[in-house]
């Protein structure tokens, strides 16, 4: 028998790299198949006379969107207050306190509104998607759908995607609004600015494209959160403990991906608007 002459550690490094690479290729393949069929079922299939499940989409909208309104408005209200305080701390040195309104308005609509909303929705709905799909996978419910001739992507995932594609921009608008309200209240109580002047300054400083770019981001984040949650849920193999692991992984991965996409969009908008 011919004995390999390669030293063991070297062999292990090659083996490890190869294995990692292969499993990475494997998951990339799974992800692209998933993305492909989710988009097919959402956008192409309705054209061939299979409309999406409207009622299920509305249920998901209530769950992911309507029920998130309190937390999203609360958090962004406080972030608005904090932002205004930080801005005032710098701007009062120049006697330019009124520009607090510009800073709060622009950072909220372009950046913080979508990001805050996305992080909150990842935590609430991304994890819920992973847990729901994961426990259905573990209980063979997904297999049961397939054997009934029901496409699980159309039945389960499309309503979630539709819901987040609508609700993420809507929640972002709410976040923008309540953040600016927070800024206004702080400015008129502690900075001695009149609310009327503050709001006027905000409106004058915001261009429509500030709000629009924020909403485009929110839409993209909604797609990212849905796909990551669903992908992690579908990866569940064993039982309950795997569901827990995948749920955590879904939240972590979707927050990271949201930040990466945010960077990408911010660079894009920086050069093209």
């Amino acid at each position: 028998m011919k004995v390999s002459t390669m030293p063991l550690p070297v062999k292990e490094i090659f083996g490890y790299t190869g294995k990692t690479f292969l499993s990475l290729l494997d998951s990339l393949n799974t992800i692209s198949v998933l993305i492909n069929s989710v988009f097919y079922q959402t956008f192409i299939s309705p054209l061939t006379g299979r409309p999406p499940r409207i009622r299920a989409s509305i249920v998901e909208m209530v769950r992911t969107g309507y029920n998130s309104v309190p937390i999203v408005s609360l958090i962004s209200f406080f972030v608005g207050v904090i932002l205004a305080l930080q801005a005032a701390y710098q701007l009062k040195k120049f006697g330019a306190l009124i520009y607090v309104a510009d800073l709060v308005g622009i950072s909220l609509t372009r950046e913080l509104g979508p990001i805050l909303t996305a992080v909150l929705v990842s935590g609430r709905s991304g994890s819920a998607f992973a847990a729901e799909i994961g426990s259905m996978k573990a209980a063979e419910e997904i297999d049961a759908l397939v054997t009934m001739g029901i496409n699980p992507i159309r039945y389960l995932i499309v309503p979630k995607l539709i819901a987040l594609m609508i609700m993420m921009p809507a929640l972002t608008l709410i976040a923008d609004f309540s953040g600016i309200t927070g800024g206004t209240i702080l400015a008129s109580t502690m900075l001695g600015l009149s609310p009327g002047a503050y709001i006027e300054q905000t409106i004058n400083s915001l261009a429509i494209q500030d709000i629009f770019t924020g909403l485009v981001k929110a839409l993209a984040f909604g797609i990212v959160i849905t796909l990551v949650g669903v992908y992690q849920g579908l990866r569940v193999e064993g039982g309950a403990e795997d569901v827990g692991k995948r749920t955590t992984a879904a939240v972590v991965a979707s927050i990271i991906l949201v930040i990466v996409f945010d960077l990408f969009f911010t660079i894009l908008f920086f050069f093209f608007t």
Partner: protein, 262 residues
């Protein structure tokens, strides 16, 4: 004997591990066939291939003369509408009531009106002895009731093939006997082909007309129940007598196993 299902040269793998090794057999129409075999012999794997959840490495599976290994997912839908499956854990959708679970295949595949579907659902629930439990959620059902609800859902579109994965596993003997009786009644009333994966000797004797036995991924027997009982193959004899098989290794093989030299 007319064939409902024909499996030819089926080879399957999980990863690189070969599970089914060139399996060939057929299942007769209008009878109840049991798939027997010890734990890990590949029964569930075989079932998952026959119902089209997994694609084989090699081989063909004909259901009503159509080779399902070469059908697309969309073409498979037609085949699937003609078959019902009861999973081992019943696999009812936990977010829907029992009635909505049974109605699901009907609402997805037909354009019937709500009131018609309601009547159909009530008939199916009555058939499996669950009339009155339609409004409950799966989490409120006992194990035996879940299995019955699963059978009602599998029968929702009046299939001509019914697959049951270990219907009586984990149930007390009385509940299990009730399910056996239901299976016998389904075959009598609807004249459908039923395929049951099971270990339970008492239920095999009640429900089965035909048997397929697997051992370590290979077919060791196919034939009628009478042929099975008359067989003198030691594996079959020990299975039917509930005796542990004579698995002891020759001394040389044993040495190889523990030293890892094969």
């Amino acid at each position: 004997m007319e064939k409902a299902i024909e499996v030819k040269g089926l080879v399957t793998h999980y990863g690189t591990r070969e599970i089914l090794k060139n399996v060939t057999f057929s299942i007769p129409r209008g009878m109840t066939t049991v798939i027997l075999g010890g734990s890990g012999s590949g029964k569930s794997t075989l079932l998952r291939h026959i119902i089209g959840l997994l694609k084989p490495t090699k081989g063909n599976i004909f259901i009503n003369e159509r080779d399902i290994t070469s059908l697309s997912e969309i073409e498979m839908i037609d085949v699937r509408k003609k078959m019902g499956v009861l999973f081992q854990g019943a696999a009812l959708l936990n977010s829907l009531t029992v009635s909505d679970n049974v109605a699901l295949p009907v609402t997805e595949h037909t354009k019937l009106q709500g009131s018609t579907i309601d009547i159909m659902v009530r008939m199916k629930l009555d058939l499996v002895g669950l009339s009155g439990s339609g409004g409950l959620y799966p989490s409120q059902l006992s194990g035996g009731m879940k299995k019955r609800a699963g059978i009602a859902r599998a029968m929702a579109l009046d299939p001509d093939l019914l697959f049951l994965d270990e219907p009586s596993a984990g149930l007390d003997p009385v509940t299990a006997a009730g399910l056996d009786e239901l299976i016998v009644r389904l075959k009598k009333v609807f004249k459908i082909t039923i395929v049951v994966v099971t270990h339970e000797l008492p239920s095999i004797h009640i429900i089965a007309d035909y048997a397929v036995m697997l051992n370590r991924g290979e077919i060791v027997f196919t034939g009628t129940m009478d042929e099975l009982k008359m067989s003198d193959d030691p594996q079959i004899v020990s299975f039917l007598a509930r005796r542990p098989p004579d698995d002891s290794l020759a001394p040389g093989d044993y040495l190889k196993t523990i030293t890892g030299n094969s």
